[in-house]
Symmetry: C2
DNA sequence: CTGAAAGCGCTTACAG
DNA sequence: CTGAAAGCGCTTACAG
């Protein structure tokens, strides 16, 4: 900066003003400074700038495993929205250790970088863990449904998705349904989805066989058993990746969807999911990203909104080819139209 | 920091030393400082620290659209490797505008943050564009095959993948193959893959029908035509997402793989790709991430290696159910075994 | 519109 | 082992 000032024949103050885009500079000065800076390849040091101005336009992002397509897409959209809002996002991904040390570790590093705000897009951190940081900087959760507490949150409308899928399945005439229930500690959003689905099914008089799950393959063997014993005619999963594993297992077992059993997933974010014809519910990733950024922008802005933000973003049912009326007794276990033949 | 020093009854210098883990402090002081810091919730300001020490342990990452599963996975693995190496990654994603302003824009912002090094995981930036930055900080490209120039690069072994897939197809007896050729400016890695595949096929005496493509659906209509006219018995795509679109189109057209035409993709990163049975080649994402981080760590370290780094990471063929010998004339266009029935 | 000076929160020789 | 002091690259009142 010193060099630029010297070469342009002005003071460092002026160079600073030029780069900050503050009005108080003559056009002549501005042009000269820009020209010289360009020539010298000068790029202002953001760190020093923020240190001096006690301001920061960078927002920290805590993300859950971007390898999961739903989070990968969310990440991309968040970046785009942030870019449009002139906010720089610094992100840290959590994988492996789903909770505990690494989450808090990352949180501390982000705090050390003196980010202006935080977007937390991982269910692994509880709101209680976030509390101590909330006093220092604004935090917006993205994707984890929060019903209570004071942490701002924008999340998918898990009630709507549960209702749509449950209604779809019930309307087809299913009366006994297996439900993969992801355990709360494994994935909170999935847990909420499953719970809501159970409630919606129950409200429609459908019998439920809950299958607790942590790993992606948990409960699958039970599904196969239940289908063979004709105890269920449908299985609902709180995530597409789980539904895919069900389809895989059915295939191996010589069974098919929806011939032998109807199958639903949730999120519909995976590219090619349509090829597989999985009946699912497309969550509103794009809108979630947009709202998360808009809210954090407002919170770190000059006139932060008061009160706790709590927004729900809608999605839409994606009817596929894996849900159909239950097989009739006369048709038996191997009906004419199977998923494979329809493909 | 001032507060911590006061509360601990020491100077700021000592507090600094404690947090830097420098040996020159008594155990008593160290413990006292840590205790007080914990109590006051003090987290050192990374910006100020780096400014004062003229050092930085943060590495910039330029990523291409994490919504693409291959990049999403790469991103996650890079973060993990960086975490293990005590390096903080600041990432910026490029999507939409594949080249030009936004890429350079992001590059400048990263430079403004005075990152110690750069990992560039997008093909949209040419090495020539990177040159001016190379003088200032170490840069490692990840995933874009570089044959010349002075930019460090670790990339997928596109020769190996092309050879494996081409050999697989040729060995099955195919003698006329359509090849989706992504244009250089749309995706350089795909372009290289396609080109290499063409060479490998040619070397095996296979006739090639090249189909230039930019958008994900380009060339697909031609494939359908060629299949109907019996001019090809296989189609090879430089990316799984393209192959999925081919499968989709075949389905719509009432054709099937490998009954009517064999299909191959490349990358095999998509979850559920096995369910679709797509024959592909799994690229070594994990290893690439590991090497990229290891190299940047070495380059920003005390004893940077000399010479231009150029590493290739291997992958492996993933045989699926979409490649089989060409349909025989006697069986005609609708042979007995179709993908769907095998599923 | 412009410059001199103090200060942002740290680190690091330099003396003890 | 410890502290006083200068300095990292900027910004920002405060005077002109």
């Amino acid at each position: 900066m010193e060099d630029v000032a010297a070469a342009a024949g002005v003071s460092r103050s002026s160079v600073s003003r030029v780069f900050l885009g503050q009005g108080k500079v003559s056009d002549a000065t501005r042009e000269r400074v820009f020209a010289v800076a360009e020539w010298l390849g000068y790029v202002p040091n953001v760190m020093a700038s923020e240190l001096a101005s006690r301001g920061s336009s960078v927002v920290g992002l805590l993300l859950r495993d971007a390898a999961n397509p739903a989070y990968g897409l969310l990440f991309t959209r968040l970046q785009e929205a942030a870019h449009d809002a002139s906010i720089t996002l610094i992100s840290m991904t959590i994988s492996g250790d789903p909770r505990g040390s690494r989450q808090i570790d990352s949180l501390r590093r982000l705090m050390g970088m003196r980010v202006a705000g935080l977007i937390v897009a991982t269910g692994g951190v509880t709101s209680a863990q976030l509390e101590p940081f909330r006093e220092r900087i604004p935090i917006v959760r993205a994707g984890r449904p929060e019903e209570t507490g004071h942490i701002h949150a924008v999340s998918y409308d898990e009630h709507a998705s549960a209702r749509a899928l449950a209604a779809h399945v019930a309307d087809q005439g299913h009366r006994s349904v297996a439900l993969i229930v992801t355990q709360e500690h494994a994935s909170y959003p999935e847990y909420v989805r499953a719970t809501n689905t159970a409630a919606e099914l129950a409200a429609r008089g459908v019998r439920i066989v809950p299958l607790p799950a942590v790993a992606l393959t948990d409960g699958i063997a039970d599904v196969i058993d239940l289908v063979r014993r004709r105890e269920i005619t449908a299985v609902m999963c709180p995530a597409d990746l789980r539904a895919l594993n069900v389809l895989r297992a059915l295939d191996v077992a010589g069974l098919s969807a929806p011939g032998d059993v109807s199958v639903t997933g949730c999120d519909a974010v995976l590219p090619g999911i349509d090829l597989m014809g999985l009946t699912s519910y497309r969550i509103g990733v794009e809108r979630l990203a947009e709202r998360a950024v808009a809210n954090i922008a407002a919170l770190i802005g000059d006139h932060p909104p008061s009160g706790t933000i709590r927004e729900l973003v809608p999605g839409r049912l994606v009817p596929g080819r894996t849900v159909a009326p239950p097989p009739t007794a006369s048709v038996g276990i191997a009906p004419a139209a199977t998923l494979e033949q329809e493909l």
